[in-house]
């Protein structure tokens, strides 16, 4: 399974998760885990997703998520999980 991590940061508002999930559903990316907090009005979400069966390329998905981020005024980042494994696991 190829996994990626999506992180979302910005001021909380209606429809953030919905918009991101729509992008993911359209390209057939399955969500494995979601964790989110809202502290002092700031929305902070970390999602682990399965990109094995994704229809779009990684770049296209990243572009789409970027576009959603710009629309919502938030920072949305998608990264392969290996960078976290490399840094935090021996």
């Amino acid at each position: 399974m190829k996994k990626a991590v999506i992180t979302v940061l910005g001021l909380d508002k209606v429809g953030i998760t919905a918009k991101i999930c729509t992008v993911l559903a359209e390209t057939n990316i399955n969500i494995l885990d979601i964790s989110q907090t809202v502290v002092g009005g700031y929305f902070n979400m970390v999602m682990v997703v399965d990109i094995t069966e994704a229809k779009d390329t990684f770049e296209t998905t990243a572009d789409k998520l970027n576009a959603v981020g710009e629309e919502l005024g938030m920072k949305i980042k998608i990264q392969h999980t290996e960078i976290f494994d490399a840094m935090h696991r021996i």
């Binding site: 992180t7 980042k77 960078i83």
Partner: protein, 453 residues
């Protein structure tokens, strides 16, 4: 499973603490381009570089995107041209080769190409002489080409003829680029114990013991180390060293991942990771800030050499375990113009040329990106090179000198190079002469402890 905190920690290192992969450098051997005719040699060189490195920039950018970490520079190092071009019997000057390298670098989109170099630690070949004589013009007429000359090693001693000549070459290079802040000198390094797999410019070249092509990666992250040290502000040295080690480990693991991926995608063997803390002029990306975090008022204050020694050593201890192959220069860089904290320290008078020289005894490189008054003589430059090379020779370490005598400026003025090269205040130089010493000529023999066989 990776935890949420670990994910957020990695991303804050990247977004807030300037963690990045400083350079992916492709080393390319030009030995098989040898030709008696310099024009044919140039054609072969251009073709080989633009074929091998055609995807380098694109792969670097794709990796940056997919892993969410900036890959700041994509660069190329080549076989020292004095060796690769030694067969060109019909040429008196190698400037056309520098122009070929420059064109190849621009056409594949890299920002620097290193290897306009000669290794003359024990003596000159005819080709070495031609190359060195071509340096000032080559650097004045190109944008991306970097040059280096190795004038000594611990095994061979110092070639003092070369030390003398390089003082003159630095001056000539400054003269030829005086309308551009003497920028030529920022692309010229004089080494003792040069390493063959260094990915960092301006001193990168692809050694003759290397494979046909390989990928070397230079990592960075002074900001991450500084931030980590903020958490242990009043702790003792054991805790301080542990924190540096742990941070260096994490940074290096990212470099190792990117290096392996780059090597796989480009289908080129992975060479080494260079574990260097390389500052940039950005705030929060400074070695001097680390010293301040350790408890020094300014870089250059008493204690700075000790602070640098422990920083350098613990970066290596942490990093070595994180990568399968460590090489290059590996340590902390202390370039003056590329580190705003070092610039401040020079401006305040806390940091002098002599203190910088002392610091180079314990760090990875040497007197790097230091702007000197425009009337600094060639002999004085040679004297400084000789001192620095002697430190490298006796201590079995790499030392380098990258000095910029800024023509028309004096102590207290400043000079702006722009971009990653930053700006620098012009600092004072000892005014007492060394002409007779430098003019002696010949070689300084290797030190006694180099006879290990």
């Amino acid at each position: 499973m990776i935890t949420r905190n670990e994910i957020l920690e990695t991303n804050s290192m990247i977004s807030e603490m300037n963690l990045d992969v400083r350079t992916i450098t492709m080393g390319i051997s030009l030995l098989d381009c040898a030709d008696p005719d310099i024009e044919r040699f140039n054609e072969k060189v251009y073709k080989k570089i633009t074929t091998y490195a055609k995807d380098l920039v694109q792969v670097g950018d794709a990796l940056a995107r997919e892993y969410g970490i900036p890959v700041v520079n994509k660069r190329i190092s080549v076989t020292p041209i004095a060796i690769a071009a030694a067969g060109c019997k019909n040429a008196d000057s190698y400037v056309s080769i520098a122009k070929t390298l420059d064109q190849a670098a621009k056409d594949v989109g890299v920002n620097f190409i290193g290897g306009f170099s000669a290794l003359v630690q024990k003596g000159y070949t005819e080709s070495d002489r031609k190359l060195i004589a071509s340096i000032p013009e080559a650097l004045a007429q190109t944008d991306c080409v970097c040059s280096s000359v190795n004038v000594g090693t611990s095994r061979n001693g110092l070639n003092m003829d070369a030390v003398k000549e390089m003082g003159e070459i630095i001056r000539k290079t400054a003269e030829l680029t005086k309308d551009r802040e003497c920028i030529g000198c920022a692309k010229l390094v004089v080494f003792c114990n040069a390493v063959e797999d260094n990915p960092f410019m301006a001193g990168a070249f692809h050694g003759v013991g290397e494979a046909d092509c390989c990928i070397n990666v230079g990592i960075s992250g002074p900001g991450v180390v500084k931030k980590a040290l903020e958490e242990v502000r009043d702790a003792d040295f054991e805790t301080l060293c542990e924190t540096v080690k742990r941070t260096a480990f994490k940074i290096t693991r990212v470099g190792q991942l990117i290096a392996q991926e780059a090597s796989k995608r480009l289908n080129v063997p992975f060479g080494i990771i260079d574990l260097s803390l390389a500052p940039t002029p950005a705030v929060g990306d400074s070695i001097a800030e680390i010293f301040q975090e350790m408890g020094l008022e300014e870089a250059g204050a008493p204690g700075t050499t000790a602070a640098l020694a422990l920083l350098n050593d613990n970066v290596k201890k942490g990093g070595v375990m994180a990568s399968s192959y460590v090489g290059g220069l590996s340590g902390a860089f202390i370039p003056v113009s590329e580190d705003h904290g070092m610039i401040d320290a020079c401006e305040k008078g806390a940091l002098t040329l002599e203190k910088l020289e002392a610091m180079t005894c314990v760090c990875s490189v040497g007197l790097d990106m230091i702007a000197l008054p425009g009337d600094t003589s060639a002999a004085t430059l040679s004297g400084i090179i000789a001192d620095e090379a002697a430190i490298g020779m006796v201590n079995h370490k790499t030392t380098a000198v990258r000095l910029i005598p800024v023509i028309g400026r004096k102590e207290g003025d400043s000079v702006e190079f722009g971009g990653l090269l930053g700006y620098a205040p012009i600092i004072s130089v000892n005014r007492f002469g060394c002409e007779k010493f430098v003019a002696r000529g010949g070689r300084i023999p290797a030190p006694i402890h180099s006879f290990k066989n």
